[in-house]
Symmetry: C2
Subunit: 456 residues, 2 copies
Amino acid sequence: MSQWQRYLEQNQDQYLEDLLAFLRIPSISALPENAKDVQKAAEWVADRLRQAGVENVEILPTDGHPVVYGDWLHAGDKPTILIYGHFDVQPVDPLHLWTHPPFEPTIEGDRVYARGASDDKGNMLIPILAVEAMLKSEGTLPVNLKFCFEGQEEIGSPDLPKFMPQHKDRFIADLAVSADAGQYSETEPEILVGLRGICGIQIDVKGAKTDLHSGMVGGTIQNPTHALVQLLNTMHDQHGRITVDGFYDDVLELSDDERAAIARVPFDEEIYLEELGLEQTFGEPGYTTRERSWVRPTLEINGIWGGFQGDGIKTVLPNEAHAKITCRLVPNQDPGRILDLLQAHITQNAPRGVTITTKILGTRGKPYLVRADHPGNQAVSNVLRKIYGVEPYQVRSGGSVPITGLFMDILGLPTVAFGFGIKDENIHAPDEFFRLSSFRKGPDAYCQLLERLGEG
Amino acid sequence: MSQWQRYLEQNQDQYLEDLLAFLRIPSISALPENAKDVQKAAEWVADRLRQAGVENVEILPTDGHPVVYGDWLHAGDKPTILIYGHFDVQPVDPLHLWTHPPFEPTIEGDRVYARGASDDKGNMLIPILAVEAMLKSEGTLPVNLKFCFEGQEEIGSPDLPKFMPQHKDRFIADLAVSADAGQYSETEPEILVGLRGICGIQIDVKGAKTDLHSGMVGGTIQNPTHALVQLLNTMHDQHGRITVDGFYDDVLELSDDERAAIARVPFDEEIYLEELGLEQTFGEPGYTTRERSWVRPTLEINGIWGGFQGDGIKTVLPNEAHAKITCRLVPNQDPGRILDLLQAHITQNAPRGVTITTKILGTRGKPYLVRADHPGNQAVSNVLRKIYGVEPYQVRSGGSVPITGLFMDILGLPTVAFGFGIKDENIHAPDEFFRLSSFRKGPDAYCQLLERLGEG
């Protein structure tokens, strides 16, 4: 047993206490009223980095939520690894569907329930603990290390495209390792070879000066909710294919090899549907569910509202209606170009009798690909093979981590994923949880990865 | 000057105090949490009737909000008049658009601002004050009188179809006079010859067990908001004509005479648009704005919601979406039949991949017509002509007063309208107000109408 392994074993109880303290901070980046909690989480992370022996720890301001930086750069000509994660979390609504309080972490068996437990607080704390174990037990690290922890991932990192070029020198490295990541199952590892990109837009439809009486005025003017429905309905056909002009133009069609690689990753549609509580899948014709999730773009309404939502009836003709939309993008789509297409489509299909405006939502991420045979992914594969005893699956994710596009565009830095979330952990949903077994396994695995990266 | 006129003049200040007290009761029938306030308003009305000298005053329970009854039946073989009004009011949201507090009545010039000031508290208090003036000053009335004041008009009187037959004997009369009514302008009177009917339905779309991550799952399952948008979009064509199968089947087409009568009522589309803050009207092709409002049926979304509505972005794939719809109906449409057609249409056009259920909203009213030469309307015309010095317009209303259908179906009782609201008074909208001049004019006019009805 190595010295750092002994250190990890001896400090398990304290590490769990640390995790619970971190989870108690309601660092919801989407809600202005929680901005101070995001700041508090940044301070907690900075303190924890310093305690671990990380140097030059700083909370760096952005135009929105801050970034926490720290480094340890005493490994000479060894490579420099930039470890990434995020300390902000998703909102908790609908709160009434939680059976555990979201910010009072609850341990049940192998699970700790809390918002952010899996995405990403549990996962981002792991490399800090790994580094602490190595530094406290051996006094050194096998690589040079930098940390980049952000507080705005869940809102699409809107301020980082401006922030990152300003701090380019600080973050320069050889490889980024994202701790915002997971494994295929408790017994089967994976390496991540692709992520979808993202962009978002809000549509605001405005009618009369005020809400009106649906009897007096109904039938004589455009109802903003009708106009919104009509407009939104132009964006998909009834089979689920997106009908925004030009939307698919830049999409790279899948090669047979790529489709085969995707098909090799096990997927049980019955279990998928059972977990979701649904009877059938639905989506763009001509693609499997996995392909629809991993390599095909989407346009999803995240929210729609207008008029009366209370109990009973209110015979109002609403004077406003709204929708929030995000698109997931695949290689070689560009978020800026897709936003342009969306705005052109909205202008062209705007029903008459109302005023329609759009607002670009603060999220923009390019789709991202890192090949399985990239040296970073090879190192990750080696460590995972050793720990799990089986070959990792080569997976993509339907989700988006916009920072990976920035690392590539601004720092020329490829990103590999190394984390321990499992897909049943209700991220972005009520009763999010993280496995305590993953939280124990993670720091050990990170130490092995750093050793491996130090050899290469 | 008659004795009752003198009495009215002497009591103006007290009457205004009474109105303000009545307006302070937030008797919103749509909101369960205000049910006790609707009850309080019923008690206030019952007390005020007793104070006026009305006899046999009772608060009659229904399955929902109560009805207040009272009578004065000492006019021998004179006709029996049933005076109708309602003491419930609309909800106040969006509250932030009110510049006066909705339940703290504010007097500015000739206006008293409060929810319910015009619809219908100001108007329903008027006949009570008229009756008081006659009884206190002359000790008698020129007709037998009954009062029927309800507390659920704003939610479509859902419990009255059951209540009214149970109390048939109590309400039997020769003519109903509705104080839920208005005049064309401050200087031009009107008689009401038609009202639209109403029915309502809620659509609930359910997808997965919980809200989901729009990245992980997006593109692979039906999004309930997409399904709702697709379904709602099948209900109108892009010109505003309703496309629910069979919807127009029972509608009586307008005769040339009827169109001409409607065209005789002045209407300035520019002023209409300016008041609404809009640049164009919109509606079923082939009809004027007036015709669309008065004699053509509608299907309006009153509310739509699903997913995230907060600031910023939440990349959720919502698991629920909802819409509330009401239809305004014209002669010879039947609310029950229209609800059947809607449900059949929804079943037939339900997108796959989600579960769609419907709930009939508690409002159902038949469209209603009373000819201009009906003796009741003739009496109303005579009084209005005397007061205003001009011939009343023959108008219809796009609104619905479901009780008028019940009075006809169950009591065989025609209803004429006699009230003093003006259409700019923001009913069902922020900053509702009533004119103090109307509140002074009203009781005098009601005394004249009762005298006239006693003669005929």
